[in-house]
Amino acid sequence: MIPAPFTYQRAGSVDEALSLAAEGGDDAKFLAGGHSLLPLMKLRLAVPEVLIDIGRLSELSYVREENGHIAVGALTTHHDVASSGLVGSELPLLAHAAGQVGDPQIRHRGTLGGSLVHSDPAGDLPAVILVLDATLVARGPAGRREIPAGEFFEGLFETALEPGELLTEIRIPRPAQAGWSFQKFTKRAIDWAIVGAAVQGDQVALVHMGSTPLRASAVEQALAGGAAPADAAAHAAEGTSPPEDINADREYREHLARVLVARGLAEARSRA
């Protein structure tokens, strides 16, 4: 399989990428690591006429500490996020989850920003970014703006980014509570999560329990009200709308969510 024909363009700077995107309009797409987009293009599920390769914009690949938060460039690969000493010490949940994406080859190419803008509800990192209360920084024709993670994921493959906007940075505050856990249930190692749960302190987010990553609000409220973790986890499926597919029906996903949140809360507390 090869993708349908397209015109390849290479951006030498963020400004050039934005102007190429403005020229290309609806027919253009940014290409970062390409590990979500190229498979979709091979299957003709995406047929852009122009690909704007931003993969060489090394100014968007970094991890640094800034004014009390950790800033990660959108083009930082999963491998580089997972092996960053700074992420490992300050945001171990993100380091661990980045090291669980796909397989080593995929982690060498796939980028944090790419997995977020792809907005696949079965993706691991959108839920992690959501539970960590991150802020996403985008640049576009109208300038620069910041989008809270809670407002970024709008639906299956849809985000709050406007046409021509480029995600440039993910800002993550230091977590208030140290304990963390990432639970992912898959059939095979490299599969997407059938269901997953990301836990940081008393904050919980769910993978693949709706058309976007979701905060498990009922669990968080129960914990805030003093419920024991095992009791709070019983609320994990409340307010969710899990998809049904060949791997799992709704009832099974709801069951998995309760089990994985219970395990995640227990593990997070053991690390606190």
């Binding site: 399989m1 390409g34 390769d53 397989d103 080859q105």
Partner: protein
């Protein structure tokens, strides 16, 4: 578009369609057919090569993305005298293959794994090769081969 990359130390230039995948560039333009196309969906790892020293699945990389970069395929591992690379030797000695289709990708994934983690545990070998499928061996001899290569050092 015009693409130029260094493959196994040799410069390969060609004018190829923009949508050309790296694996097809390697097989059809560079003439290096050891790298196999297996699943073609970023799953099986048969097409694994090194891009600037890191393992990648070349069915999911455009030739244009590798333009100007260094690519190593299994043909580039043996030294000039034809002496096998330690990882190749370990797969040979431990019989880490049966039909051999996955082997070029397994060997390249192993070279990358050992570059990042020269002394992996058995579990680290198994998770480090999660991106490579073998339908013959049940993986046991492949894991033995990787551990033997690591034990021998000099990767």
């Amino acid at each position: 578009m015009k693409v130029s990359m260094t493959v196994n130390g040799r410069t390969v230039d060609a004018d190829v369609p923009d949508r050309t995948l790296l694996v097809h560039f390697l097989r059809e333009v560079a003439g290096l057919t050891a790298t196999n196309v297996g699943c073609d969906t970023t799953s099986c790892g048969a097409c694994t090569v090194l891009l600037d020293g890191q393992s990648v699945k070349s069915c999911t990389v455009l030739a244009a993305q590798a333009d100007g970069h260094q690519v190593t395929t299994v043909e580039g591992l043996a030294n000039g005298d034809g002496e096998m690379h330690p990882v190749q030797r370990a797969f040979h000695l431990e019989h880490g293959l049966q039909c051999g289709f996955c082997t070029p990708g397994m060997v390249m994934a192993t070279v990358s794994l050992l570059a990042e983690n020269p002394r992996p545990t058995e579990e680290e070998v198994r998770t480090g090769l999660e991106g490579n499928l073998c339908r013959c061996t049940g993986y046991h001899n492949i894991v033995r081969a990787v551990l033997a290569a690591a034990e021998g050092g000099d990767i």
